[in-house]
Symmetry: C2
Subunit: 240 residues, 2 copies
DNA sequence: CGCTCGGTTGACCGATCTCAAACTTAGTGG
DNA sequence: CCACTAAGTTTGAGATCGGTCAACCGAGCG
């Protein structure tokens, strides 16, 4: 059975059987990691490309004052930048959140895959564009949305991404993020995040509990968030 | 005399004479635009790649409530994403800030340049990685830095970028951004930004005046910002 | 069974926003 | 060359959002 990386790429561009086989063999060497394990740290020299096959992973940065900012979440199927190898050092760290299975693809292998297989190249580029769009959405959230809107917006994003890869069972889904981690993503205090979550719960929009999120009133949540699902979807060009 | 785009790419990867010639001809069709002119708007179908040759340009997003968030600044030599063409529509707009000269490179031309010229491909990938690093730094700023730190940090970033392309005359440089625009970049109110600028002026670190920034005490500014210039520099790998 | 980690709550404080007005500069037309 | 205007900047007063500090709670685990 094909892994989540292949499944994702197939959703982003048409993929020939040869290409699928090539991806199979490239990701064959997957490794398991425990939760909270740094795959690579800020300042390290970049190595191979990481591909998350199972579990959740995040990118983050720690500031001199000790605070942390989470920069992105990687879910099964997601990979980190294909060309990192060109940089002298990482400007951020990457860490598992849950126990995770991660494959690594060496730079030469990656180059080879991209040049030899146009479908793979195309899918990887689209994936990268989507990731960039997500970053822009985060900047927008942090800059111009009130805390409750920010929380709601992130939940919408994570829900849609989970659903896209078949990890959501309609009204709810597994969300293995502590409130501390969420606060570090949203640029707020855990205390304040907790109050916002309470407000969202009382408003009947959603309810976060031990590792899963229940979206009781999707429309209300979307409305609070000012969420435009377009930023994750329908962005693929119909015509090539 | 070569243009700012070529100059920038030459700084990011070794460039063969043929490659320079190819870039010359690709950017020959530059066009002039007045200030505040949208090059492309959110929702539009992406077209060619934009390359800024002269002037300042920004990416931005407007929210339903009417507020605006600036997502990035493009200075002479900067280009926007090479593969935008793969998306169905823009998730943000791009607008000139000052009068600007912008070249456009059609997708086929771009593909051709990249596949035929490894030096160009490499330089473009590095440029993209740097842009992504900048976005991550913005997210970090918005999430975890106090307003005065954010302002100082952005000024450091812009100063270094200007200096890199020869647009800074040591203690000062041309900064054609209104306070409103800066506020929209930093996720704050123009009123509050103005107060922060006053604080920075009184502290003797820097002074912003009509279109130029004077950095009176670089060390102090860097210290206030918690600026790590590594995120823009020294990231190129020595070894290929 | 007690410890530890994460979540929850309260009281208080301070940073940032809002609203509103004055002022400054650059550009425009008479 | 001088109103006049529009855009941008500056300042004040008061309100609000989100942060800080501190205590308590509850579940999982050795």
């Amino acid at each position: 059975m094909e892994n989540s990386f292949i499944a994702k790429l197939k959703g982003l561009a048409p993929m020939a059987p040869v290409e699928i086989a090539a991806l199979e063999s490239a990701t064959a060497s997957a490794q398991s990691f425990s939760a909270r394990h740094d795959l690579i740290r800020e300042g390290d020299r970049p190595g191979p490309v990481f591909v998350v096959l199972e579990g959740w992973v995040c990118r983050y940065k720690v500031l001199p004052n000790g605070t942390r900012q989470v920069l992105a979440y990687l879910m099964p199927g997601d990979a980190c930048d294909l060309h990192v190898g060109l940089l002298a050092e990482m400007d951020h760290s990457i860490q598992t959140i849950t126990p995770a299975v991660v494959a690594t693809i060496e730079r030469e292998m990656m180059d080879d895959l991209m040049t030899r297989h146009p479908g793979i190249a195309r899918a990887m580029y689209v994936a990268q564009l989507i990731d960039e769009g997500t970053m822009r959405a985060w900047i927008t959230s942090m800059g111009r949305r009130a805390s409750i809107e920010r929380v709601a917006h992130l939940m919408c994003e994570l829900y849609l991404r989970a659903r896209n890869i078949g990890l959501a069972s309609e009204p709810q889904f597994t969300l293995p993020l502590s409130q501390l981690m969420l606060a570090d993503s949203l640029g707020m205090t855990p205390v304040h995040l907790n109050r916002v979550l309470k407000e969202l719960r009382l408003s009947g929009a959603m309810k976060l509990e031990r590792g899963r999120l229940l979206i009781s009133d999707p429309n209300r949540l979307i409305q609070i968030a000012g969420f435009d699902e377009n930023y994750l979807h329908r962005r693929l060009r119909r015509a090539g």
